[in-house]
Structure formats: structure tokens, C-alpha cells
């Protein structure tokens, strides 16, 4: 192996490539073969370990992310899971119905309710959730005592690692009908209340749960951006007579701009996905009228009612619109001169 012509590293291959470009004057002859064009067999031999290492992940992704894409054909079928024991075999035998499922969806008022709820929730989260981590990050950044900073960061990060089940359960134990606030009120002769089953405030409740769980976690990215601002900029601004608010406006906020743009793009591209697990857990308590979003609509029709074709069609619509949104949001970011999620 060690005496073979196979370059021992990819980096060596690069240096050989460079050597090929500038002919070796000492020996007076060109290398026998241009290493940039190693044969496939040799490259396979050189890189087999790396390929072997990467394969398990690629295989898992292929099976669980790519193969199911084929399964979307059931959206154009009248899928009957009872034709065969095997779901994919049943797929081959189910009759084709063209766009019938899509027609049914567009005529379903529950679908449009789900669309409306999804969009309302998205805008609520954008307005009520999005600014909070930025404000918190500015606040923490302005704290100069390291111990205070570290402790409050540790506390604020914590809820991010709790499961949705736990977060909702905590909210229920506090704000629910049998929760401690309602119980205490009743004990003192006031009327109790149940925020957890009130469809009117459900969307605010969902947003509040999201803030409790993830607002603290959201500050990490902003803190990182703030830490990379050069202190010289602040000093120069101060020399020029800028007070603390002007420094915030002219130095700090511009430093956050790219991060804010990036996160906005991500959020807009993901607009149709608003807290699937979180809402699914509370759907029964408030009823689908207020709680149904596109993801839970798919879950309800598909998994619960076993109407696989119908639900797959709904999921397909959502997926396609989402991809379009990601691309569009990124396009807008590029046009605004920001980097966006991926480069052009």
C-alpha cells in the first residue's frame, strides 16, 4: 500500500496538481500522469475509508427522507391500506384517481380554516416572539458582571431542552382549570378560569408557550454576533460624541442586521410550519376550529381517519408551498444585499 502510486492524502493530491502546473525543471520531465485526473478506481481505493464512514448516514437519509418522497404518489390514488399487508405493495395496486384528492381538499372548509390558523399563528409569532430574543440579547450583552451573565444565560437556556409535553403540562398545572392559579382563586372566593381550553386566546397561549420555551435559546445567535463587534467601533463612536443610545443605534444594531435577516428568512420560509407537536398536544382541548394548522390537519385526516391519499395530498401542497417560500425568501434576502441561507 505504502509504495503504490495512490496519493496518501487528498492534500497530497493537491500539491501534485500544483506541481503538474509548473513543470518540474530539475528532473526535466513531466510527471507521468496528471494526478488531477486520477482514475476512478484509484480514487475509490484512496477514499474508501471516508466513503465507508459517510455511507451509514447517507443510507439512513436515503431510506427515511428520499424513499418516502416516492410515497407521495398516494396523493394521486385512492389508496387502500387493506389491499396488502405491506404499505408499499398496497401502493402499487391502488387505483389512480388523478387530481381528485386535491379537488376534495380545496372544497373542504376545514382545510381553509387550517390555512387561516397557520397564517395567523405565523404572524403572531413573528410580531410577538421574534423581537424578544433580540431585546434579551441586548440586555444580557450590556451586563458586564461575568457571573451574572453566565447564571442568567444558564437559566434562560434551560426551557429549550424541555419537551413540549413538559412545557404544556407545566402551563396546564399553572393556568389550567385545575391549575394552581384557578384553584387559589376559587379558594379565596373568586371565579376560576381555564386558559388551556379557551379557543379565543389559544393562539396567544401557543405563542406564550413558545416564548417561554425558546426565547432564551434564541439569544445565543445574537450574543455571538454581538461578541464579534470590535470594541474599537464603540470607542471611536464614543470619541465622536455618540452617547449610549446612539452607539446602540449606529454600532450594535447594524452588527445584528445580517443575523436578523437570516433568521427572518428562515422563519418566513418555514411559515407553514407552526409548532406541530405543540399544537397537536392541545388540539383536543380547544377543538380543531381554533387549533387546527396544516400539519395537524394532515395528521388528523391521515393517521387518525386513515384517509391516507387525502392527507398525503394536503401534505404535498404544504411541502411544495414551503419549498417555494424558502426559495422566495432567500431571493428577497439576496436582493436586499444579505447573504441569506445559502449562497447564490
Amino acid at each position: 500500500m505504502s509504495h503504490s502510486t495512490v496519493p496518501r492524502s487528498r492534500d497530497e493530491a493537491h500539491t501534485r496538481k500544483a506541481a503538474a502546473r509548473t513543470p518540474d525543471t530539475r528532473s526535466g520531465r513531466r510527471p507521468a500522469r496528471r494526478p488531477g485526473k486520477l482514475s476512478l478506481r484509484l480514487r475509490l481505493r484512496r477514499d474508501r475509508t471516508l466513503i465507508l464512514m459517510t455511507l451509514p448516514a447517507v443510507a439512513l437519509v436515503l431510506v427515511f427522507n428520499y424513499v418516502p418522497i416516492l410515497g407521495n404518489v398516494v396523493a394521486f390514488q385512492e389508496y387502500d391500506p387493506y389491499i396488502s399487508d405491506n404499505g408499499f405493495a398496497a401502493m402499487l395496486e391502488s387505483p389512480w384517481v388523478g387530481l381528485e384528492q386535491f379537488q376534495r381538499i380545496f372544497e373542504d372548509s376545514a382545510f381553509w380554516d387550517a390555512v387561516r390558523n397557520t397564517l395567523v399563528l405565523f404572524f403572531l409569532q413573528l410580531v410577538l416572539f421574534f423581537p424578544i430574543p433580540i431585546a434579551l440579547a441586548l440586555l444580557i450583552n450590556s451586563v458586564i458582571r461575568p457571573r451574572v451573565r453566565a447564571v442568567s444565560q444558564a437559566i434562560l437556556y434551560l426551557p429549550h431542552f424541555f419537551s413540549w409535553v413538559l412545557v404544556i403540562t407545566v402551563f396546564q398545572q399553572i393556568f389550567g382549570g385545575a391549575g394552581i392559579i384557578a384553584q387559589t382563586l376559587r379558594r379565596h372566593g373568586y371565579e376560576g378560569f381555564d386558559l388551556m381550553t379557551d379557543p379565543g386566546i389559544f393562539k396567544f397561549l401557543v405563542t406564550a408557550e413558545g416564548v417561554w420555551k425558546d426565547a432564551g435559546w434564541g439569544i445565543i445567535v445574537f450574543l455571538a454576533a454581538l461578541a464579534s463587534v470590535s470594541p474599537d467601533l464603540y470607542e471611536a463612536a464614543a470619541m465622536d460624541g455618540a452617547g449610549r443610545w446612539r452607539r446602540l443605534w449606529h454600532v450594535t444594531l447594524p452588527a445584528l442586521r445580517p443575523v436578523i435577516a437570516l433568521l427572518l428568512v428562515l422563519r418566513v420560509g418555514d411559515a407553514l410550519t407552526v409548532g406541530f407537536e405543540q399544537i397537536l398536544l392541545q388540539r383536543d382541548a380547544v377543538g380543531p376550529g381554533a387549533a387546527e394548522v396544516l400539519d395537524t390537519y394532515v395528521w388528523w385526516n391521515g393517521v387518525r381517519n386513515q384517509d391516507f391519499s387525502f392527507a398525503a395530498a394536503a401534505g404535498l401542497i404544504k411541502g411544495l408551498v414551503s419549498v417555494a417560500l424558502v426559495l422566495a425568501a432567500n431571493k428577497v434576502a439576496h436582493m436586499m444585499g444579505e447573504q441569506g441561507v445559502y449562497k447564490k
Binding site: 492524502s9 464512514m53 448516514a57 458582571r145 419537551s163 407545566v170 398536544l281
Partner: protein
């Protein structure tokens, strides 16, 4: 004369400020106003309290006796007679004990599996220029922009015969492309000279990964392990759609039944009915079981979060 001058130019050994003292500010920065300082403190303390207060209530109630809870009308703020009855009942066998063990098992096995696959893939993809590198990277990256959809995934898992097996809780979400990218970003930052010298000494890729790359990336490996572990520990959805056997349910799903649907834990209803334990304390104890591992582990990894998240954001 010169001695005086010299002494003046000697660097003054600054005492590190104690934790309650603020470190010195740069000369150009105005000292903060009293009102501003107070305002900041109130907002920050409020935010931290909003996180801690519910947890305090949950923990304290789970440790309270039935008598304390009844006297306090449900809202126990200060623990008086601390008792572990609720935990003893929950962990002395039965539904919750089994669910806790299931969750622990799935978390351990799943995290180990996910980390192995992810670290290998991250290393394999970190040496750019290798055969198929671009294609494999693209294959992974593309999944960050689209999902196959819930129904086709569900049908696939069914077709593979994974329903009612613990594999259904691990395999479908075993690798997170984001986590692989974070690891890869780190591995790529390790100086190539180091790796080359190891290679000249005759080390293969396996040995380089194990002896050089992994020891150098302990911080990010800790963060990603935590991410995976928390993911497995918190998961309930896969169990709810792929498992039908109640005995196989992990802790989160049991918590849904006990607390949200207000059911009584199987085998424990007797103790609650006869009034030995408060049903509220039992519910809170289940919640503590669910939050404890995460709350204990995550602060230790906390100082590495920023690095890990940042690498992901930049390289992604």
C-alpha cells in the same frame, strides 16, 4: 529618582474583581445611571423568575405531603414537610417505572447510534476532495429544504415492519443533518498539518478520527450529544403513531396520559383513592422525572453552546 520612575511604569498587578464587583469599564464609557441599572436588573430577574418559578412549584409540590397541599389549596410555595412518597410509589414498579426505563434505554441506545453515524459522516465529509464527497454532501443538505411529508413516512415505517418496535423510535429520526454540519464544520477547522503529520506517521483515517480529531473536538461533541439525547428523551410523537402497545410507551407519552388527560397511573389508583398520596404530587413527580435529566446535564454543556451553534449557522 529613576527608581521612582521605574516603579511608576511597572505594570500594576490588578486584582481580579470579585464576582459581585463589576469589572472596570473602558474610560470612554459612561458609568450607568442608577435607574437604568435598576431597570435592567428588574427585567433580567423577571425573565429568570418566569423560567424558574414554574419549575420551583412543580418540584416543591412533588415533594409535599397530601396535608401540605390541601392546606395550601394547591399552591405550595414553601416546602414544609418534605416527603418522597410520590416518587417511591412511581418508581416501585408499574407503568411510570417501566416508561422511565424505556425512555432511558431509547435515549442511551439512540444517542449512541446517532452519534456514531453522525461523527463518522462528519469526518468522512470533512476531508474535501474525496470521491463522491460533493454528491453525498448534497444528498444530506437537500433534506434541510424539504420533507417527504408525514403520511408517506408513516407508510414507509409501516412497510418496513417497524411498527410496535423500539426501532421505530430511533431509526426514522436518527440523523440530524444540522448536527452533522456542525460537527463537520468543527472537524474542518482542525489544522490540516496535524492530520498530515499523523498520516505520514502511518495513521489511517480511523485512527486519525479516534486519536486526533475526536479529542480535539470534545466541546462540540458534548453539545451534539446533548442535542441528540434531549431529542430522544423528549420525543413522544413517533411513539404515539408507531406504537400501539401501552407497555412500550416512553415517559413523555405516559405523562400525556397522566397529567393532560387526568388519568391515574395504573396500579397506583389505590394509594391515591385511599388518600395516602395527593394526585397532584404524583403528577408533579412525573414531571420532575421528565425534566430532571435534562436540567441536570445541560448546564454542564452550556459554555460550549455558542461555539456549536455558531459553527452550524456559518457553515450551514
Amino acid at each position: 529618582m529613576t527608581a521612582v520612575l521605574d516603579r511608576r511604569h511597572e505594570p500594576v498587578a490588578e486584582k481580579a474583581p470579585r464576582w459581585w464587583q463589576a469589572p472596570p469599564r473602558p474610560v470612554w464609557e459612561e458609568p450607568p445611571g442608577r435607574a437604568g441599572l435598576a431597570g435592567k436588573g428588574i427585567v433580567l430577574a423577571g425573565a429568570c423568575l418566569a423560567v424558574l418559578f414554574p419549575l420551583w412549584i412543580v418540584i416543591v409540590t412533588s415533594l409535599s405531603s397530601k396535608k401540605t397541599i390541601t392546606e395550601a389549596g394547591g399552591l405550595v410555595l414553601i416546602p414544609r414537610d418534605i416527603t418522597f412518597v410520590a416518587y417511591q410509589e412511581l418508581l416501585s414498579g408499574g407503568q411510570v417505572t417501566r416508561a422511565t426505563l424505556v425512555s432511558l434505554g431509547v435515549t442511551l441506545v439512540g444517542t449512541l447510534f446517532s452519534m456514531t453515524v453522525s461523527v463518522l459522516a462528519a469526518y468522512g465529509l470533512s476531508r474535501s476532495g474525496s470521491l463522491g464527497h460533493r454528491w453525498m454532501l448534497m444528498t444530506l443538505l437537500a433534506t434541510m429544504f424539504f420533507g417527504a411529508g408525514l403520511i408517506p413516512t408513516y407508510l414507509l415505517v409501516q412497510s418496513l415492519g417497524l411498527t410496535d418496535t423500539y426501532l421505530a423510535l430511533i431509526l426514522p429520526s436518527a440523523v440530524s443533518v444540522f448536527n452533522i454540519l456542525v460537527l463537520r464544520g468543527f472537524f474542518m477547522n482542525i489544522s490540516p498539518e496535524l492530520i498530515d503529520s499523523a498520516r505520514i506517521d502511518g495513521a489511517g483515517d480511523w485512527r486519525i478520527l479516534w486519536k486526533i480529531v475526536l479529542p480535539l473536538s470534545r466541546a462540540v461533541v458534548a453539545v451534539i450529544t446533548l442535542f441528540y439525547a434531549v431529542g430522544y428523551w423528549s420525543a413522544w410523537f413517533n411513539a404515539s403513531i408507531y406504537l400501539t402497545d401501552q407497555d412500550m410507551m416512553p415517559l413523555q407519552n405516559v405523562m400525556i396520559q397522566l397529567v393532560q388527560k387526568q388519568e391515574q397511573p395504573v396500579g397506583m389508583s389505590q394509594a391515591i383513592k385511599t388518600g395516602q398520596i395527593s394526585a397532584l404530587a404524583v403528577q408533579m413527580a412525573v414531571m420532575v422525572l421528565a425534566l430532571l435529566p435534562v436540567a441536570v446535564v445541560s448546564p454542564f454543556v452550556q459554555k460550549h453552546f455558542k461555539k456549536g451553534m455558531l459553527t452550524g449557522a456559518v457553515k450551514g
